[in-house]
């Protein structure tokens, strides 16, 4: 299967997502510091093929995918998702009517 992106691109991508979420003070957020920390820690390895490094890379790729896809999904949701129905009392009120009331309560109500 295709090789994963380079660590630099992944790191930049994740930090960009965090910035998109948080705004100007993104550098103080938890996630920012943790992500940078993790990338720094996993940078240096003695082995040529370090399994932990590969796994960390895959995990960061998954996290980037999570952040981007959640953001994109929410954007589409805001555009396309239905706003829900109004309550019946309200709907009656819009046309100027009232719902009938039963003084003893309806049969199934407590």
């Amino acid at each position: 299967m295709a090789a994963l992106s380079s660590p630099l691109r992944l790191c930049r991508g994740i930090l960009r997502e965090i910035r998109a979420i948080k705004g100007p003070e993104y550098k103080q957020s938890l996630a920012y510091n943790y992500v940078l920390d993790q990338f720094r820690k996993n940078q240096i390895t003695g082995e040529r093929y370090c399994r932990a490094q590969e796994e960390a890379l895959h995990a960061s790729h998954s996290y980037l995918c999570l952040l981007t896809s959640t953001r994109q999904h929410l954007a589409l949701y805001d555009i396309y998702h239905g706003k829900g129905q109004r309550d019946t009392e309200e709907m009656a009120g819009i046309v100027g009517l009232r719902l009938p009331t039963q003084p003893g309560g309806k049969g199934w109500e407590k």
Partner: protein
């Protein structure tokens, strides 16, 4: 009465039309649309944001807790929310941090997974979860092939066969693909191997793994993703192969295809990450050979 209406109106904001006085002179009470009841597993999709800061703290037993302002986060079942490691805690905290104005629970996948693992509201045991997960193998997406149109057949062979070969090699099993309506015959030995492999995961990881399998509708793809053989985007693409083929032919419908795609991606990514964090007890052991 008027003051109540003004208060209600300002609370509900622009979402509703202003209260009208009906011809009979009765002013109607507008009921709020969203009932706030987050104590149980009732269907609440959104809620107003009630905190400013999110932080994590060490709890007892090495677990991590999430703090919203001063209060500790709780699961829907009422238990204190605890995460077994820092990475998971930060992922969840970040989800809560992402919310603005209203809390959109349907976008907080890591939180949902943690809640399910902590509460176990349907009281399932490991065996039940493994059986449920393996049931998907009999109707695995990868194993169901079409016979026509030929371009789709070719696409399926080119994309799905490598993954199938990989998993057959990796786990030393026989799965095979089939074009019949009944699907492939999965030998018992294969099921036993997978059952044994799944048994080695703890309850948290199994929750995540079963979630990924359910989302991708394929055990093979889920394993390929969890074993880090393919990425999330690739797994989602392979799961939706026929849909992508049809999109390429007939065109893309944003409000259906794209919404589906991003939702599937976010859920799968959350599941994969959840399994990774739950199964890898990643403590950094550094060989301080350098300074």
């Amino acid at each position: 009465m008027l003051r109540n209406l003004v208060r209600l109106h300002s609370r509900l904001g622009h979402a509703l039309s202003p209260p009208t006085v009906c011809p009979r002179g009765q002013v109607l009470k507008l009921l709020p649309l969203i009932s706030v009841n987050s104590k149980s597993y009732s269907i609440v999709t959104e809620r107003k944001k009630f905190y400013e800061d999110v932080s994590i703290s060490h709890g007892e037993g090495g677990m991590f807790e999430i703090n919203l302002d001063r209060r500790k986060l709780k699961t829907p079942g009422g238990k204190l929310f605890t995460a077994p490691n820092e990475a998971l805690a930060i992922a969840v905290a970040n989800e809560w941090d992402t919310q603005k104005d209203t809390l959109k629970f349907y976008s907080m996948h890591m939180t949902t997974l943690c809640n399910t693992a902590l509460d176990n509201p349907t009281f399932r045991s490991k065996d039940q979860m493994i059986t449920a997960a393996l049931k998907y193998l009999e109707t695995d997406t990868i194993c169901y092939r079409v016979e026509e149109p030929p371009s789709l057949v070719e696409l399926q062979n080119n994309e799905w066969d490598p993954v199938l070969n990989w998993i057959e090699d990796r786990y030393n099993v026989v799965i095979g693909s089939s074009t019949s309506i009944l699907g492939p015959e999965i030998p018992q030995a294969t099921m036993d191997t997978f059952r044994q492999h799944l048994g080695s995961y703890n309850l948290w990881s199994l929750t995540g793994l079963e979630y990924v399998i359910t989302q991708l509708k394929s055990v093979v793809l889920a394993f390929a993703l969890i074993d880090k053989h393919i990425t999330v985007e690739q797994a989602v693409l392979l799961s939706r192969l026929e849909a992508e083929f049809q999109i390429g032919h007939w065109g893309n419908v944003e409000w259906a295809h794209d919404v589906d795609l991003y939702e599937l991606r976010s859920r799968t990514a959350a599941g994969a990450l959840f399994v990774h964090f739950s199964s890898e007890c990643s403590t950094v052991k550094r060989n301080l050979m350098q300074d």
